[in-house]
């Protein structure tokens, strides 16, 4: 019954906004200054992925927990709630 993260996210209901509610403020900080790149590990929705030497954001599956907002060691993520009604809608909760 093991479930991969991609499959877990398929269980959820999202109303996706084209515009990302998550932005990296300064990509150079991620590339050159950030040693730990904690976002790659702490995010429960695998939103942050390493592509080459840059970090990509897949905001569509964001569970809106906020962990990257305060967990980024350089506070380099501009984190907003998705627009009203957008983002995840829990079915059970």
């Amino acid at each position: 019954m093991s479930v991969k993260i991609e499959d877990k996210l398929f269980l959820d209901r999202f109303k996706v906004d084209e515009e990302s509610h998550l932005k990296i403020i300064n990509p150079d900080v991620c590339k050159n200054k950030c040693k730990t790149q904690a976002c790659l590990y702490i995010c429960p929705a695998y939103v942050y992925r390493l592509e080459g030497d840059r970090i990509s954001i897949n905001h569509e599956g964001c569970l809106e927990c906020g962990s990257c907002r305060i967990g980024c060691p350089h506070l380099n993520i501009d984190w907003r709630f998705p627009k009203g009604g957008y983002g995840i809608s829990h079915k059970f909760g």
Partner: protein
């Protein structure tokens, strides 16, 4: 939307909706903003609620069709090593009769939605799909309303109740609560696993209306300060594991990997076998405790629930603290409206009442408990390992005399933990909860 209200509430969770019910019932013009598509759309908890606190808001919650999953008649505590574990539980028939619904499970998407409906029936205006992005303040700094993401979305209010939950960019922006450090929260991930009600009843030994909660500590958080649960719902089981966010960042373990490993544990796997995962969610637990509670009231505003970091980690209480604080905030607002004074001074009775209630008394009593867990890593690796060794030794019948076994257990404790160290952990643990 350029209207004026007596009270604007940010967040339609247990705290905000409790306040809205009481205020609306008193005929007070109340508006509640909810960023989700519907109240509950963004909310997640293990899933227990407390009948006593709900009845304080809605005495007739049963008649009103409260969506209860299962009435909890047994509470279990597990202490797990990687592939073994201890279990104690307490079941009491009083919870099927006189004290029925003392604790019950809910799905927050259903419950919060239903709860907000009750506030609407009492006359509150609930506006979903709307994010509060800032607070209005006058030249003296007094809060005078909210700014939403809607067009012309400024709403004037005599007083604002902040009940927008533990993850609050609004708090960070407006400074009504210092933004949280990663060590102040635990990140929990949860899977809801669908199973036939009869299967759940068989596996947990309960009737069709009753259920069991299991709180779990041990190695399943990979040596990190954390906790896990197994709660029974009507036709599903909630499985969740959470760990301190600062520790997660350090360990590089991924939350969903912890959850998968936990599901494979020999004590967990048989309970969820054959089930179908139907939802995966993530949320913070406001673990910082008493020391992270912000100033609860200021000029023109009050803070309640998770926004105020009201969470009792030891007793897994949170939704009741939210409801109780929402109620106390509403009572204070009622009195302030009579005086037409919304200064910090006028709203300070909320702080006094909170201090005198179980909410802050309990939070204060356990103020050192989160720090004890955070500082005592042995609780999440060496100690469960030693506990496993001990039980295995004593339960294995192999012709070795018990005195010899006792000696090898003591040797193992000395090797892994040290006797003085073990005594120190026990002493500090006791001091943190006494």
């Amino acid at each position: 939307m350029n209207e004026s209200f007596d009270v604007a509430i940010v967040g339609a969770g247990p705290a905000g909706t409790s306040a809205a019910c009481i205020l609306a019932e008193a005929g007070i013009k109340t508006i509640v903003f909810e960023r989700g598509e519907y109240p509950g759309a963004k909310n997640m908890s293990g899933g227990v609620l407390y009948g006593y606190n709900l009845a304080q808001i809605l005495p007739d919650y049963i008649e009103r069709g409260c969506p209860i999953e299962r009435n909890i008649i047994e509470s279990r505590i597990w202490y797990l090593s990687k592939d073994a574990g201890y279990s104690i539980g307490y079941r009491d028939n009083i919870f099927t009769k006189e004290r029925k619904n003392n604790v019950f499970t809910v799905g927050r998407a259903k419950f919060d939605r239903w709860f907000a409906e009750q506030a609407k029936k009492k006359g509150a205006l609930v506006v979903p799909g709307t994010v509060v992005i800032d607070l209005l303040k006058d030249s003296t700094g007094k809060v005078t309303g909210v700014v939403t993401n809607r067009k012309e979305g400024e709403i004037q209010a005599k007083v604002v109740l902040l009940a927008d939950g533990v993850n609050s960019p609004l708090a960070a922006k407006t400074g009504f609560r210092a933004d949280l450090n990663p060590e102040h929260v635990a990140l929990a991930v949860k899977e809801v696993i669908e199973l036939a009600p009869e299967v759940i009843e068989q596996r947990f030994g309960v009737s069709s209306t009753d259920g069991v909660t299991t709180e779990v500590l041990g190695e399943m958080t990979g040596g990190m300060d954390g906790v896990a649960i197994i709660y029974t719902n009507k036709g599903s089981i909630s499985i969740s594991v959470g760990a301190n966010l600062a520790e997660l960042a350090k360990s590089k373990m991924k939350p969903y990997d912890l959850l998968e490993a936990y599901k494979q544990h020999p004590m967990v796997a048989p309970l969820v076998a054959g089930g179908k995962p139907i939802e995966y969610t993530a949320h913070w637990l406001a673990e910082g405790g008493y020391k992270t509670i912000p100033q609860l009231a200021g000029d023109g505003y009050l803070i309640a629930g998770d926004s105020a970091m009201l969470f009792n980690a030891l007793h897994r209480e949170g939704s009741n603290l939210a409801m109780a604080s929402g109620k106390m905030a509403a009572e204070t607002i009622k009195a302030a409206l009579r005086r037409n004074d919304f200064s910090k001074q006028s709203l300070s009775s909320y702080v006094t009442n909170m201090n005198n209630s179980f909410v802050l008394k309990d939070m204060k009593k356990y103020q050192n408990f989160p720090g004890f867990l955070y500082d005592t890593h042995q609780l999440f690796n060496e100690l469960p390992q030693v506990a496993q060794f001990m039980a295995r030794e004593m339960l294995t019948v192999n012709g070795i005399n018990k005195k010899q076994k006792q000696k090898s257990i003591m040797d193992e404790i000395r090797k892994k933990l040290g006797l003085m160290n073990l005594a120190r952990i026990a002493w500090r643990g006791w001091r943190s909860v006494k």
